[in-house]
């Protein structure tokens, strides 16, 4: 039974209030018909007796209390799914945008999903080679992981994401596809991604959900949920390995803040709602591998840190949920290093079980530990050099500075299409460490040093 409610009793921001509603349920979908034929969609976000508050995704522009009638759809927000969605482009609400017609649904899924039972998860162990030394050696990406890129506006995070997509090696013959969700990104950025996917010949494996910067902001809150619902379907029901790229999470959080304040909620830090952590977690936790399925959902959310501040609530809360982070550094970028990965701040929590013998190479763990430790010493030497001048440094510190420079220009820096094998990356690491005196490599056992340390003879 579908009832049509004529008129509204209140409009505020993106919210409208209906009175005398019988039988609405929480999170029910609504369709709002404007005089003149325009149709918008919305969702019940609060109920109080016979009053229902509906959030309108496309915004309330042109609506009045008398020109709108509302139909409650009797179902939660769902999207139509089938294996055919690969290669298609959708808008932020999961409606086709490429002119190829509706998706014939094999099934419909509630976009809110359900939490994966921790007992049913499979602990991710299979690494993904990205061909990027700084990531492969020092913050290894694991299938089923959520590893965000913390960037700043104007930095090369999009290039890095594209390079990861192009080079990501899941060449063990299993199905691989990409779900790309854009939230509030500029048209040319979305185009850049599309073009790059085409050039890499992967466009027929990409499903895109686009909410561009001029699209309604409330729609933006739904976009990642649609994308992740599609990803979960492809991964867990169609047994595919799915890489989800979510960009830009900062726009998403800002949309959430706007929505929260229009509901009149008590703000938390910097005006973001108190439930920002739970809300972000409900997205990020939709990565992983489950028992009984061959597929996996790997997430690379990209966020731009406002004012490059890593303690801002968005990167801060993200870091608490995700399994590590790849942090880009503006000063590295300015010295011409691409990808400008700040390795000391970057981390992959899952790498410890996904590297070493049987995965990458047995010396990987020792190498990465030592590179981190030695590079940390480089930073100390640099800050000292900035005070007393490089000439006054001890020989050891001078050597460290030299190591630091070589490390950045040879190990971190690589071309946008340079695809290094894991052997190349690890050997390069040892070559660089061999610049330093053997005794100073305190994180490595002697037998590994015997095998890999090659002293540089002057």
């Amino acid at each position: 039974m579908v009832t049509e409610h004529i008129g509204l009793s209140e409009i505020s921001g993106s919210l409208v209030i209906l009175d005398n509603v019988e039988d609405a349920f929480y999170e029910e979908m609504a369709e709002l018909h404007l005089d003149g034929g325009a149709v918008r969609s919305g969702r019940v976000v609060m109920i109080e007796g016979k009053r229902a508050v509906v959030q309108v995704f496309e915004g309330t522009k042109d609506m009045s209390v008398s020109n709108t009638s509302t139909v409650l759809k009797g179902k939660p927000m769902e999207i139509s799914l089938s294996p055919e969605i690969i290669g298609r482009v959708f808008d932020g609400l999961g409606r086709p945008k490429d002119g190829l017609g509706e998706v014939f649904p094999v099934c419909k899924r509630n976009i809110n999903g359900s939490a994966i039972n921790p007992v049913s998860r499979v602990y991710p162990k299979n690494y993904i080679r990205t061909g990027i030394s700084s990531i492969d050696a020092l913050a290894t990406l694991i299938r089923g992981q959520k590893l965000p890129i913390f960037s700043g506006s104007g930095m090369k995070h999009n290039e890095l994401a594209v390079q990861i997509v192009k080079q990501a090696d899941v060449s063990d013959g299993e199905d691989f596809a990409i779900v790309f969700a854009a939230m509030g990104v500029k048209n040319d950025v979305a185009d850049y991604f599309r073009r790059s996917f085409e050039q890499a010949g992967v466009m027929n494996r990409v499903t895109m959900f686009l909410n561009l910067s001029n699209d309604p902001i409330i729609e933006r809150i739904i976009t990642p949920k649609c994308a992740l619902t599609a990803a979960e379907y492809l991964a867990f029901e169609c047994n595919m390995n799915i890489l989800v790229i979510l960009t830009d999470m900062t726009s998403y959080c800002e949309a959430l803040r706007e929505f929260s304040s229009s509901k009149g909620e008590i703000p938390g830090r910097k005006g973001y709602p108190g439930y920002l952590y739970s809300d972000l977690a409900s997205l990020y936790e939709r990565a992983g591998i489950v028992k009984g399925s061959k597929g996996s959902v790997t997430q690379i959310p990209i966020l731009t840190m406002p004012n490059d501040d890593i303690t801002h609530p968005i990167p801060d809360l993200t870091g608490f949920i995700t399994e590590g982070q790849i942090v880009l550094d503006r000063s590295l970028e300015n010295t011409g290093i691409y990808p400008p990965v700040s390795i000391l701040m970057s981390l992959s929590r899952l790498m410890k079980d996904g590297i070493g013998k049987g995965f990458t190479r047995d010396d990987h763990k020792a190498l990465s530990d030592q590179l981190f430790a030695s590079y940390a010493l480089v930073q100390d030497a640099r800050s000292l050099a900035s005070v007393i001048g490089e000439d006054e440094l001890s020989d050891n510190d001078k050597l460290l500075l030299q190591f630091g420079r070589e490390f950045e220009t040879r190990f971190l820096k690589q071309g946008e299409s340079e695809n290094r094998t894991i052997e190349e990356t690890l050997d390069l690491g040892w070559e660089l460490l061999s610049m330093l005196p053997r005794e100073s490599l305190d994180r490595v056992s002697d037998d590994i040093l015997d095998k890999h340390y090659k002293a540089v003879v002057d």
Binding site: E27, S114, G268, R269
Partner: protein, 584 residues
Amino acid sequence: MSQINHIYGINGPVVTVKGKTDLKMMEMVYVGEHSLVGEVIRITDELTTIQVYEDTAGLRPGEKIVSTSYPMSVTLGPGLLGNIYDGIQKPLTMIAENSGVFLTRGVDTPSIDENKEWETVVLIKAGDTVSPGQIIAECPETPIIKHKSLVPPDCSGEVIKAAANGKYKVGDCIAEIKTGDGSIRKLSLAQKWPIRTPRPAGARLPISKPLITGQRVIDTMFPIAMGGAAAIPGGFGTGKTVTQHQLAKFADADIIVYVGCGERGNEMTQALNEFSELTDPSTGRPLLERTILIANTSNMPVAAREASIYTGITLAEYYRDMGYNTALMADSTSRWAEALREISGRLEEMPADEGYPAYLPSRLSEFYERAGYFEALSGKKGSITLIGAVSPQGADFSEPVTQNTKRFTRCFWALDKSLAYARHYPAINWNDSYSEYIAELSDWYRDNIARDFIQCRNEIASILAEETKLMEIVKLIGSEILPDDQKLTLEIARVIRIGFLQQNAMHETDTYTPVYKHYKMMQAILHLNMKAKEALARQIPVSRIFSTGMFDKVIKMKYEIPNDKPDMIDDYIKEIDAVYENLI
């Protein structure tokens, strides 16, 4: 029969009932068609507010609310150990078997297996008088833990019927008690207890023993007492979870309750896998046989996250009452505080610091005060040690959760971002951390490890403090121009930092080291320091002292010396003597 209530409003995890009701504060209710678990949190003339522990999508006004007339409770009985629960004690393994990989709502699954039979020895007979907390029956819950069924704390009287020894299910009646008011109470192996009420215990006993964790920076530098409370604050990536996992694996408590409160799903899976595979060094049995896991991951309902901490501590108290030493690890209490904030916001309460409710400090103190070393009602001695991780926003320790936690814990292990960036793990900063238990525990170390243990520890601490002071200078002018004795201090401090404080959780030998080995390692380091100083006093240049290779050899002893042969370090001490004898 109580009146039937109906949903009036829904906002996130909060539903309201209009008008006067007979619902009681903190009463547990079942909400809606799917019987979602909820709890009454506010009552006014016009509205009763209920917080729902499961996802509220799909609820309609007018759906039924069924009252249970008892507060949010957990079931306590044999079968808890080795299980993994969500925040309101729903058994996740059973749910996975019944309804697949995704969590579904409102599944009513008993918390402990009701069909399993336990080989029970009944310890009472008809005619006995029993008092609250008395042990009435025993059964082997796992091969290493004997479960003791207790008289509920609110029950006492004369036994009028007692079952014979044999196999019983948790629901079977094993005794009938005639209580003071003449009513008959049937007791089984299991009982219920409300999670927000501490289980009563007898007197608090003075703290005297450390909880040994095998982690050098903890056991030696900042020890925690059995029955104590500790906080581990740290920003993301500083290793809170790894530290908590290490403690859960190696702490020498009898029972471990590990609460994953609003944390990552994959980490809980990892914990579950590891605890099933790893064995307890003292018994050789899987760690899971002494562990209860509570997993309320960050995407599970927020209200259950708030409850998970209380569920965990109630389970811990139950085993304490049997006379076990239990330890509870909560990762992370900040998520719990945020859940409080979120619910408080939905109730439109007046916020205090950073949006947290004004009652945050009192809730925290209530929680941490449930730790302690007690004489249980049964007369046995048991303890609860609480270790709470704190995730301060932006790694800023001045935020309300860290600050308030600091007030109620006596042990503070501050995790440091810059140490973590340099991959110094555990990244516990020795300047900011403290343990107030050292004075109370020094007798134990003296009697059980070595006479001069605390003295060694203090010497190590003072070298580190000296280093911190010197580093201020080094940062400005470099280490080259320091006098030789200060260079030596820096070098010894490096040995302490890398060779002693750093501990590799992934390394077979290094992941756990017995306290006696800590002592021997300190001895070697201090001996090296002494000998090097002697050499220095005899005008040997510091570069020659360093070039003996002994410093690096001592650094690597954590890997080279097997844990069961710590006395091999004496050979190192002899070698140091010989090397420096030669030098002089």
